[in-house]
Structure formats: C-alpha cells, structure tokens
Amino acid sequence: MAEVIQRKKRDFHHVSRGANAVLHTIAAIFSFLCVFPFLFVVIISLTDEKTLATDGYRLIPAKWSLEAYKFVFQSGDTLLRSYGVTILVTVVGTLVSLILISLYAYAISRKSFRYRRFFSVFAILTMLFNGGMIPTYMVVSQLLGLKDTLWALILPLAMNAFYIMILRTFYSTSVPEAIIESGRIDGAGDFYIFLRIVLPLSLPGLATIGLFSTLGYWNDWFNALLYIDNPNLVPLQSMLMRIESSIQFIQQNSANSSLSMAALQSIPQDTSRMAMVVLATLPIIFAYPFFQRYFVQGLTVGAVKE
C-alpha cells in the first residue's frame, strides 16, 4: 500500500517519462520558434552582400561577411544619435511617468483626500472614451506646438489610467494604513509620508510600472511617425522604418563625410539594414531576462488578485 502511494505520489509530481519527453519537445520547439527569427536576422546581417543577392536569405550562407557592421560603425554617428534619442526619451519619459503616476495614484488611494472620487473618475473616464488619433494629433501639434521636439515623444506616453489603477490597488494592498497613521501621529506631513514611507514600501509596484513604461518608450515608433521630421530627433525604431525605403538615411545624416562616391556605391545595403535591426534589438535581448518576473507581475499585481 505504501508503495502504491509512493508511486502515485510520483505520478502527481511527474508525468510519465515518455509524456515528459513529448512535452519537453513541444515546449522546446515553441520556444525556439520564438527566438529563431532573431537568430535568422543575425545570420542575414553577417552574410556577404553579393551572396545575398544571388542566394537570398540563407540559414547557412555561402559566404560570411562583417561588411555591414563595418559600414554601420563607419557612419556610426547616425546610429549613435538615434540611440541617444531613444535612451534620453526612455529615461526622461520613464521618470516623468513614474512621478506623475505615483503621485496621482497615491492621492486617490488616500481616504482622507476629499476629492478622491472626482479624480478617480477623472482618470477612469479616459479609459472608456478617447478622442482618437486625429484630435490628439491636433492638440499635440497645433495647440501645444510639440511637433519636432522630444516632448512629442515623451508626453503622449507619460500617463495611462490603467497604470494608475494598478498602482492604486498596489498601495492599498501593500501599504498598511496603520503605518501611515503612525507617521501622521509623529507629525509628518502628507508629502513626507509619501516620500519616506509609502514609496519605499511600494518599490516592487513602481518597478513594474516603470519597466512597462521603459519598454513602451523604447519600442515606440508611432509618435515619431506622427510628430518627428527632423532627422536629428529620430529614435531607433523610427530610424529602422526610414532605412526600410532607403539606407541612405544613415549616410545622409552622418557627420563622417569621408565616405567617397565609390564607397557609397559599395554600401552593403540589405545586410546593413539587418545589422541595424540587430543593433537596435541587442539591448533588449540582454536586459529582458533579468526583468522577466516584473512583467509577469504586471497583470497580476493590480488587475487580478489571487
């Protein structure tokens, strides 16, 4: 009897060996499918341009080459400038949105705030009904005059009622009212309590919101599509869109004018495009495995309680 239970217990923990192999295979294949396109693009970027023209995109190219990366780095200041724009927008944007969201969410989570209902509704309404792309475009470009400025990349993504609701829930579940009360008894002001007590306690929540926000800024191309014409303010993703039609975007905006006509004629056009894609993706590839769990939390933290 004991032996039977023993065996069953193993059954509960483990599927049979054969089934386990099948499951592993399925998961491995799916996981590989998710990563494969990136690897493929890396391979394309390392292919010799001429080989590419005759053979097409091959998994194992007949001839490898680093020319594309050489070219990209030679005229590298375009790539660097776009990196700079993206990093600046991402950092400033994340900070701005964290400040706006955490303050707003905290205020409407406090029962002592007389107008909390009003401001809760004020935020929630924006989730239900929006003016849409064109009126927003008109406000940003005409009324606020943000066209061709970095603010046009930062501000439209700075707030989001959904994040406010997530964070409000987080405050009310993970910051005990008693702590705030004790702070108050000690004579601390609301702002002091927020900074010194509430913020430290809600770091995990803030980290989650902050990372979502970071990802949003890093991957944004839509606002650049609408608002940015100046080639010097083009973020990475948008630059990738522009070189789709002409790789010369890189060279035209490069301060390195030593490229001769002959050099221009031998630009490895297709492989350079893919090299840019690889270079724009690398930071994410390296960073995301470390932050995975926050992204999983994102949905569970606020929207769904266990």
Binding site: G56, P135, I284
Partner: protein
Amino acid sequence: MAAFFKNLIRNKVMLFMVLPGAIWFFFFSYLPLVGTIVAFKQYRFNREGFWASISKSEWVGWDNFKFLFSTNDAYTITRNTLLYNLAFIILGLILSVAMAVLLSELVGKTMAKIYQTGMFLPYFLSWVIVGYFAFSFLSMDRGMINQILGWFGAEPVQWYSDPKYWPYILVFVSLWKSVGYNSVVYLASIMGIDKSLYEAAMIDGASKWQQIKNITIPMLSPIIIIMTLLAVGRIFYADFGLFYQVPRDSGTLYSVTNVIDTYVYRGLKTTGEIGMSTAAGLYQSVVGFVLVIVSNFVVRKIDKDSALF
C-alpha cells in the same frame, strides 16, 4: 463658498499631487475629446490657431459619417477589426493556457525556465522589428519561405501582394508575439494553486488529465474570464503596429489588412480630410465605449474586484 476654499486648502498637498496628472489628462485626453466635434465639420486650418480652426470650420452635419458608410470601407474595416480580434482572443486563449499547463507539468525546472525565457522574447520586440523579421521570411525573391517552396519545385508566392494568405499570416504573427507572454502569466497563476488539491485528487486515483480538467482549468477560470473580457472590451481597437508594419503598407492587401486604426491614419495622410478621418475615429470610440461598458458590467458580475470601475 468660504467652506469650499477651506476644503481646497485643507487638501492642498493632495491636490498638488494630482495636479500634474490631471493637467496631463486634460490636455491629452479631454481636449482631444472636445476636438472630435470636427467629425461634424469640414475642417479647414485657420491661422488664428487650434480653437479658431475648430470653431470656424464649416458644419457639415453627418456628411462625414455618410461618406464613411457610403463606401464598402466601413464594412471592411469593421469586419477586419472584429474578426481578427476574435481570432486573436480565442486562439490566443487556447494556446496560452495549453502552453501554461504544459510548462507546469514539465519535469526539470531549469529547462522550463529556459523555455519560458525564449517564449517571452517576442513580447519585448517592437512591431517595426517584427516587420523586418516577417520580411526575412516572406520576401518574394529572398525570403526563406519561397526558398523552401523552391526545394519542392513550387512557384514562389508574392506574399506582399496576395491578400488570400494574410488572414493566416496576421493571426500567426499576432499569436507568435503574445502567446509566450500570456502563457507565462497563466503559469504564474497555476503555480499559485493549492498543492493539496492535487494530492487529494491523486489519492482518489485521478489521472493527470483528470487533474488538469477538474482542478487546473477551474482554478484558472477566474483569471481566464477576466483577461478575456478585458480583451473583448478592446475588440474594437486593433493593434496598429501589427496591421501597419507587418504587411509593409501594401495597397493590394488593404482588403484584409485595413482595420479602423490604420484607416483613420491613412485617411489623414492620403486625403488630408481631417473631418472624415475623425468621423471614423469617433465611430470607433463610440462603439468601443459601449463594448467596454458591457464587458465591464459582465466582469463585475463575475468578480467585483476585477472590474475596472
């Protein structure tokens, strides 16, 4: 009145805290809402600025909406938006849950972690990059798929000009990007299920399959229902990037790739008729609003805490 100011002063710190956010909402959410009245106007820019442009444009009543519904466009974009989203929701749900259950049953947790990390990758990539990925497979003369077709002696396919493949391509790409992420989220919930339930089932002699059917899925159902209803509430809004970047804005494909969001954007770009494009956007907002309200009502019935409001 005096009491009112007194209240303001008493709440000044909190008011100060909400102020920046409230200003943001005002400019980026409420003013555009006011701007939607150009859907009823023939919009002409006026050099006096934003307000003058709106107020001095000529009223045209429902003409802009008539335009939208007089052509096939309204039907096409509504159908595309709804059907694609429906496919994404249903197939996405089935695959994500299946993958989550599968991951939870794996023996060898290190491998499971590695798989998860791999599956998670597409979620972090922008649509621009996914568009490049798709191109490396679908390019007519160089793409991998046409090369593979070539091995079997098949004719190369003009992927970017033949609409009949795109419903499948778009669904595939969308699932590719989202299933990994969603399954990891579901997996987190499965991990939270009380282990003693399984032990009890096991003592009753339940098979693995029975355990999944009778314990895992029912325990997951609240989060499944809520995630699904949230998605249903957004069913009238399409993922602009998917429909704009992946088909490379190819005109021939519009019949199967044009959704409300891309239609609004293209209206602005090709005809410059701001009134007409805004009308299409307003149509989306109104129907979308109704759907959000209805789905939120349903969520509330199921789990009050999960409702948005």
